[in-house]
Symmetry: C2
Subunit: 148 residues, 2 copies
């Protein structure tokens, strides 16, 4: 197992120095130690969301089989679904040609979006319209799941 060596001295979100899987040793994390992860429904192919992972959250995702992300606003690791129970069971993890984006295919429990929609991409641009059109399906009422 290769030991992770970071290309910068003091990243804002320092991951632990953990033994990385050699397959992932070439991943390119950005200056903040983060990589975008696109989350896709493994069965339907619907794109559910995009969030950011650091080394730790990717490692936790692989170890547990449930998606973990790094919250830039809260400055901490989070398990997707930790409040709502709407976890994502990982089916596969793909890496793009430049090794700077991940595509994670999942089985989504409940719904991905905190606004109650199955996918976070529930609004579409329409030509010659004043507002985005809601095209997604609502699965739950947020106030019932998260409280007020």
């Amino acid at each position: 197992m290769a030991i992770l060596r970071l290309p910068f001295d003091k990243p804002p979100h320092p991951p632990k120095t953990i033994p990385m899987d050699p397959q992932l040793a070439q991943l390119k994390f950005d200056a903040n130690g983060l990589i975008p992860a696109i989350i896709q429904d493994a069965k339907s192919g619907e794109v559910l969301m995009m969030a950011w992972m650091n080394r730790d959250s990717l490692d936790k995702t692989i170890q547990t089989g449930k998606t973990h992300f790094f919250s830039r606003s809260r400055g901490k690791l989070w398990l997707k679904g930790e409040s709502s129970g709407h976890v994502q069971n990982v089916k596969s993890i793909a890496v793009d040609c430049d090794q700077d984006v991940l595509l994670v295919r999942v089985e989504q429990v409940g719904a991905a979006c905190h606004e109650g929609f199955y996918s976070c991409f529930f609004r579409e641009f329409q030509k010659d319209s004043q507002q985005l059109k809601v095209v997604g399906k609502k699965i739950f009422e947020p106030e019932k799941v998260y409280g007020k």
Copy 2:
């Protein structure tokens, strides 16, 4: 039409002050004036790539119906397929709940990846393996399209 007002003074990649479609006035571009755009095959649902757009490239994408991105390494706007002819004809543009990621569904001409694969996500992580597994299909030989 609302006039775009940027939340910062001197972005590294300043977009022109163009009249923005009011539907897109709330988009959150990052500190560099960029927003991630996930590109998905409109028919099969396959995720093809992720690239970055600034206001200009998004505007060009909408006006022309072909994806345009902002290259962070080359510091300029580019039409996807300008060298290879492998353009992407836009079918829809969705916005996520936080309005900081775009999902663009396209008809892909040729293949999305400069390495010759239909999707840039042509390699997958495998547990207990030494290397990523190639799972994508190769559509063309790069040296024949781009030259040496």
